[in-house]
Amino acid sequence: MSLLWCDKYRPKDFSKLDFHKEQGSGLKSLTKDGDFPHLLIYGPMGAGKKTRIMCLLKELYGTGVERLRSEVMTFTTPSNKKLEIGTVSSNHHIEVNPSDVGIYDRVVIMNIIKNVAQTQQLDLSGQKSFKVVVLTDVDALTKDAQHALRRTMEKYITNCRLILCSTTMSRVIPAIKSRCLCIRIPAPTTEQIVQVIEKTASLEDINFPRNLAEKIAVLSERNLRRALLMSEACKVEAEGKLTPNQNVAEPDWLLMIRETARIILNEQSIQQLKKVRENLYELICRGIPPEIIFKNLLDGLLKQCDLGLTAEILENAATYEHQMVQGNKEIFHLEAFVAKCMCLYQNVLEEMKSDF
């Protein structure tokens, strides 16, 4: 299978970045004397965090970091439980998403960092005295794991630098923020997305109508990866002849969430609640993160419901969403929120009826 556009045309060099160029050159000079602090890179999905990390690594170590291999590593917890986790590494860095092992993330992080830090660069031509550990989804780390990082980050700083990657800053404990240079990566603007789509299309030798690119840029919610995926899907669907007004397929999970919102407002009953539950289960099973389901469900409700309930829905969303991330059975809280919304909606409808 050939590569997807979003991977195929991922810029490999700071000079080739399509947007945030100024920041790019800043990051480049950050690596100039071959050293750099621990980094915490944060920004919304599809804003280009990963791309910038790879550029940084390349700037530091040269093309060696592009020779990647993926491996499954095994660890044992103190309670003798075996853990397996996938990693991607080169000679100079290792990338891992510790939240893959849930509450055991601390064990994984500590083992990897200590391993890296204790193996000095033996060879004389070694270019750097340190290696880089890239941790993704840092906002999903347990507090325990974050605490464990604190002193470790200071102790092993000569042999090991961390790049932490996160979508929000709020879940990262202050002690870690204090130890990192925090770099904000804003989402590209819709114009920038249009430009990238057009550039990609011209590299693929396709004529991409501007209207269509603009439509995609808006629908992508300023997520460049999603925009490129949608563009590619459009191309496949059009079988070569793209037209300005052609239909843009949005991700089907998104459509499903919107449909769920419609069901909720359509009729308020136990039967409907059951239908909603089926949908929610399916979404969770497909691996859509519950936070994302919640957010889009809320958006759907706000857009489709016009009875002056916005304030109340938002208030409830704030409480239920918080409970959801605290608890560990997401479906309960999603459902509770749905039931609450149905209830609010029905009350308003009945009031309106009795007013007649």
Binding site: G26, S29, D33, G43, T63, C180, R184, A311, E321
Partner: protein, 355 residues
Amino acid sequence: MQSFLKSGKLGSQSLDKGASSSKITKKSKTVPWVEKYRPQTVNDVVEQNEVVAVLNQCISGADLPNLLFYGPPGTGKTSTILAAAKQLFGDIYRERILELNASDERGIQVIRDKVKTFSQLTASATRPDGKACPPFKIVILDEADSMTHSAQAALRRTMEKETKTTRFCLICNYVSRIIEPLTSRCSKFRFKPLNESMIHERLKLISEKEGINCEDETLKTLVENCGGDMRRAITCLQSCSKLQGSGSPISVNTVLEVTGVIPHNWLLEFVEVCKRKSYMDAVEFVKKFGYEAYSASQFLEQFNCFLVNTGIFSDKQKAMIGEKLGTVNYFVQDGGSEYIQLCSLATSVILACDA
């Protein structure tokens, strides 16, 4: 993984020509300034006078109580005790201290075994080179707030039993997470967020030594936005100087970007949008704000500051919004979605506009 760990061994000969430029700077052991300028003696520690006084007495021969240091990040807790240990024990300080932090296993079993064995070793009152040194060892429990309560309880007995040969130093950010029986066994020292002028002075010293070109005003902005955290201030200074590239002085914009300050316009626009009393506009605004990736907790902090000082809202409105701000901030820190929480803040502001 194996080849990764051993590194170089396999591929180093054929390694990339692209990076050859960096070979010139061969293996320069570069340490960031935070480590380079970590206080080496307790007198280097800025601001925390009470602790320094107590430790200085101890260095000149007095006995040391069990210690509990607490305070926000980057105020010198770890540095202070490490510096003190080095001064107390000189070359043999590695044998005399046991440092356990949150990255080490610290369950009950470890406390019982490791700490016990360590503290039962006798400590003589002279160093190998004949100089005098205190006849005890120090167990440093860094990041003690992440220890379970049962492990803390296990520590209680050990602490009492080993008073002859061992002193304990507990370090944490949140003293409320340490159980009462432990806090009552220690002399407590609060590490205050550092005074802005103190940080300023230290940064100036560093800039001089490193040859950094930074105007006083810029430095002041940097310090103001670091909230009394010396480590953050130093990291920011180093990063700014590197991001800026050599030669040109550090610009205020770089400082603002690095410290993650949200431009004031966003706050004004937020209030503006809320005053229009359209919920959907507010939601759109929050979405737009989210795309910029600014941290919501930073926004809440700045908004709080703004709210207190502004003349736009009446006292009653301020009270309503302020209360909500508290809840929202808590929810956000606790993992709630930034988007939803900020939307709910906006709702409250809109409702308050009517009050």
